[in-house]
Amino acid sequence: MKNKSFGAKLLSFVRDNTVPIMFVLICAFCIPLSGFSFSYLLNEIITRMGRNIFLILALLIPIMSGMGLNFGMTLGAMAGEIALIFVSDWQIWGIPGVILAMILSIPISVLLGTFCGKILNMAKGREMITSYIISFFMNGIYQLIVLYMMGSIIPISHFSVKLPRGYGIRNTVSLLNMRQCIDNLLAIRTNGVKIPVLTFLIIGVLCLFIVWFRRTKLGQDMRAVGQDMNVARDAGINVERTRIISIVISTVLAGFGMILYLQNMGNIATYSSHSQIGMFCIAALLVGGASVDRASIGNVFLGVILFHTMFIVAPKAGAQITGDSMIGEYFRVFVSYGVITLSLIMYETKKRRQKSQMGLQLQREQMEEGAK
């Protein structure tokens, strides 16, 4: 009985962790092919961890409240970008600039998050596709504001930000003056590996916040709403409001995350930085073994490491195998989408697998009765 259960355990472990295991294999295969040195790889991964983890953590709370993968985190990213545009226009540099941008992003994020949450409440049961379309819709509004209203209606004056035509923001806004200001403070450098200690501290604080948040009344309500909206409503929990709050928190965190991300990158690609960020964060989270209805901080860390290792080594490895560097580029894009597709399929099939078990049980019962 015992050794059998070990085999069964192994099997169920593999089944529950298909995606991470697949990624470990891909990475194990690609790393030697890419020929990168260990310290280079480590440095890259640590940089990307500092850059991305905060953003990905923003996804956890909507998952907790049963709203699935928040493709609407793009909205938070937009809020962060708008805040950063203002800050660069005012020429606030360095860490004060980052702090100011974060404070500035809060009202914008809250506004966008409330909007998103309200719409998602109208589309219960298909939150994901709706939040996905919301991100496109808001992208249009974002363009309207940034490309046409900034400089003409909203005061923007600095030449390094504004387009020469008099309104609109440049394609790229340089953040040279706050580039890696947080990463570099307290950073430790050894053997060509830079560890951005302050960034990790901030991430640590956020992790603590999430752990703490789960133990609050609101966190408990969100978990209840996430598992069964009707029961939660019957118990007197304001379901709609709880869901909106969860999206608002996610949006605000995504805004902060985007600011941290961009201070590391050192410039804003005004019209495209945010457009793919949701997709990459979601892919990374899923690679870490999360699913549409369950995700932990551990998934986030594992996901970032595996996903970005793949991201770094794939182009080089692809070039090694096929002689064409574009193959690897396309491969990693394919894998990102593939992972999300796979996770969505697994989630949906799991939802309906539980059915038809009762029938088998009845049949068994009757057979037992017949045998008596």
Partner: protein, 163 residues
């Protein structure tokens, strides 16, 4: 009800605190680019000639060494501009270390400071002037707007910020 007023109090307190921090950051974080000139300047009929060499040190790091008629650049966050100058007045003359500290005007992005004039103790309007960037005056050729495909949705996957 007192619970509610208490909450409102705390809430406004928190908002005020954030606004306060934002305001503080707004002042503290203002960045300036300071251009340091080692150039001869005429002021009120007097000539203040350039030094032979000035070494500019900021936060213990040497930023630049200026020979005659040269311009150096320093960046500064906030309005307190503090540098150390190691001045050699004439060729083979003695080195003289001067700590200087001056208030930068908030509204200026780029500031030119004429060091000989400053070292001579002239008033502010003499040594300090605003730097107007060339880029700001001549409009650049229109930047390419975001590329759109037939349907108006950007498909530039390759320009993902991840790279």
């Amino acid at each position: 009800m007192s619970n509610k007023t208490r909450r409102i109090l705390f809430c406004t307190g928190a908002v005020l605190l954030l606004v306060l921090i934002a305001g503080l950051m707004f002042i503290v974080g203002r960045g300036h680019t300071v251009y340091l000139d080692n150039k001869t300047l005429e002021y009120n009929g007097q000539t203040y000639s350039a030094m032979h060499k000035i070494e500019v040190v900021q936060n213990g790091k040497t930023l630049t060494k200026l020979n005659k008629r040269e311009r150096g650049m320093a960046t500064n966050i906030g309005q307190n501009f503090k540098i150390t100058l190691i001045v050699t007045k004439e060729k083979k003359g003695a080195e003289e270390t001067r700590e200087i500290q001056l208030k930068l005007p908030y509204s200026m992005d780029g500031i030119i400071i004429n060091l000989p004039a400053y070292l001579a103790g002239l008033p502010q309007e003499a040594y300090l002037s605003e730097f107007i960037s060339a880029a700001e005056q001549e409009p650049e050729p229109e930047e390419a707007l975001p590329t759109e495909d037939e349907f108006g949705i950007s498909t530039d996957m390759d320009s993902t910020p991840q790279g």
